[in-house]
Symmetry: C2
Subunit: 311 residues, 2 copies
């Protein structure tokens, strides 16, 4: 299959073409850029929904339940499951993914795990590009699942229109310490495993925490919803909240603002990737040797590579 | 205080000058680069030791205990404590840091928390630069404490010569799922809170896990050491293991390899930072608008900014 055939085939519903295209963008380099340049004008229609939360919150199960709910409503769903290649969560995440297998065989669903370490710009970059491809392929909702435990994952969440933050009962006092960062990124809170003891307590704490924040008139108030994802309970309410949030973004003008911020991030990343590729020529190795020997500083060397006159 | 006075003052032991210099590199931009270019030739002597592990493993307490041990041996210690600005751990980390206050008032110790979000290139970049400054200021050991829970923290760990991975009893089955990534980055394992039930079990599991890995002749075998950091127990053995590891790096030629890899990362980061600063001129906003409207793709726009002829 030629690269220039991939986009029309993806758009015609060929999942093998889509899988191939994502592999190309995971690898990066000129083929990835050519593909994204061709895809970009077709993208922009999907509702991108991030699902994040601590390890053990049942995110994969929730993603599965939400996908089933959207499918019942006739909406197609693309899923990007991000493995942060963390030494502390890697294995567990992989185990969870197995639960998503119930979604297999439905042409209205596409699932891809991302774990690329090789790509210049890292996982956040490859994930953002994969979202563009799923959007181009016509998926109406694109779900990004991440383990929310680091700046990288927050960067990934930022690529979403709507971010669901998942909590569970039994985190005890921790709930007090995590509020600041969560308030910034959560559009919808989900208390999963809500059949467990302490669910109402978590619910109450989250609501209290939200009321502490400054409330501007017309601003979105993140709902706090209960779910038992393993049995599909709460999925309808969460899907409806996500859709209300999307409408709110449009009406409030935030859609346009967010699109602009995303465009700026994409352009910055593209400039960095291209600049680095260009200077990896002959003097590169010699400069690295000199820097390692402390005979040169990295910024001085970078100026030399990029051409000092323009600085 | 002028910028060009900072390096000599730092090197003379002026901790205010050092604190000021770190603030400058946290902000980034041309002043940060000028400072690092001046510092770089003076750096390279410190032993950089990373301390990472899951939240709750007692890393700050261990860092405090190890620092006290090194001080007893007459070794000066600079500490960079990285707050990952995570919504899920932020608050807790801050609380731990308070324990380090026992180290205050000793001119042979310098502690700095890093939590900058603003800096281009992020926290890993600012942390690596802060390590260069502590090294320049003459600290013989530089400790980097991170919460090991994401790619960003692994990038930070990579800047260390010696990485200590801290575990605690009571993580249960999780120990099985975390081994792959840990084996890659750990030079020394520490089982902290070893007075708790299950410590011997964790110790045994870690050792078994290490024996599963491929062992090349002459390769470093990560020791697995017990500690009760709160009472200073185990600190001497850990400090000695870290120093043995450093000697191993020298004798095996890995010091030179790692210095080269670090130099390459530094140069890449510097190229990216400078390239981005240069193109943030007039056509930038117009291109962002066109990308947001899907009338342009980010890579095509980046090519235009960098000058297509050179691609």
């Amino acid at each position: 299959m030629q690269h220039n055939e991939l986009i029309p085939r993806m758009r015609a519903g060929d999942q093998r073409a889509l899988a191939r295209a994502i592999s190309i963008i995971e690898t990066g380099g000129p083929p990835a850029r050519a593909l994204l340049a061709a895809a970009y004008p077709h993208a922009g229609a999907a509702h991108v929904v991030g699902v994040t939360g601590p390890p053990g919150a049942g995110k994969s199960t929730l993603v599965t339940a939400l996908t089933q709910e959207w499918r019942r409503r006739g909406v197609s769903v693309g899923i990007v499951a991000v493995d942060p290649t963390s030494p502390f969560t890697g294995g567990a995440v992989l185990g969870d993914r197995i639960r998503m297998q119930v979604l297999g065989g439905d042409p209205g669903v596409f699932i891809r795990s991302m774990a690329s370490r090789g790509r210049l710009g890292g996982l956040a970059r490859a994930t953002a590009d994969a979202v563009v491809l799923l959007d181009t392929a016509g998926f109406q909702v694109v779900l990004i699942e991440t383990v929310g435990a680091g700046q990288g994952e927050i960067d990934i969440a930022r690529a979403a229109h709507t971010t669901l933050v998942v909590e569970i009962p039994g985190m005890g006092d921790d709930i007090q310490s995590i509020k600041a960062g969560m308030l910034e990124i959560a559009d919808v809170f989900v208390v999963n495993k809500a059949d467990r003891d302490g669910a109402d307590n978590v619910l109450r704490q989250l609501k209290a925490m939200l009321h502490l924040g400054e409330h501007r008139p017309g601003a979105w108030e993140p709902p706090v919803l209960k779910a038992v994802a393993m049995r599909g309970e709460g999925s309808a309410e969460i899907v409806e909240a996500a859709e209300r949030h999307r409408i709110h973004l449009h009406h409030s003008g935030q859609s346009a603002e967010r699109a602009r911020a995303a465009a700026e991030r994409e352009l910055s990343a593209a400039v960095q990737e291209l600049a680095l590729e260009r200077v990896r020529g002959a003097p590169w190795e010699a400069l690295v040797t000199r820097i390692a020997a402390r005979a040169r500083d990295p910024y001085g060397a970078a100026l030399e590579l990029l051409g000092e006159s323009k600085s």
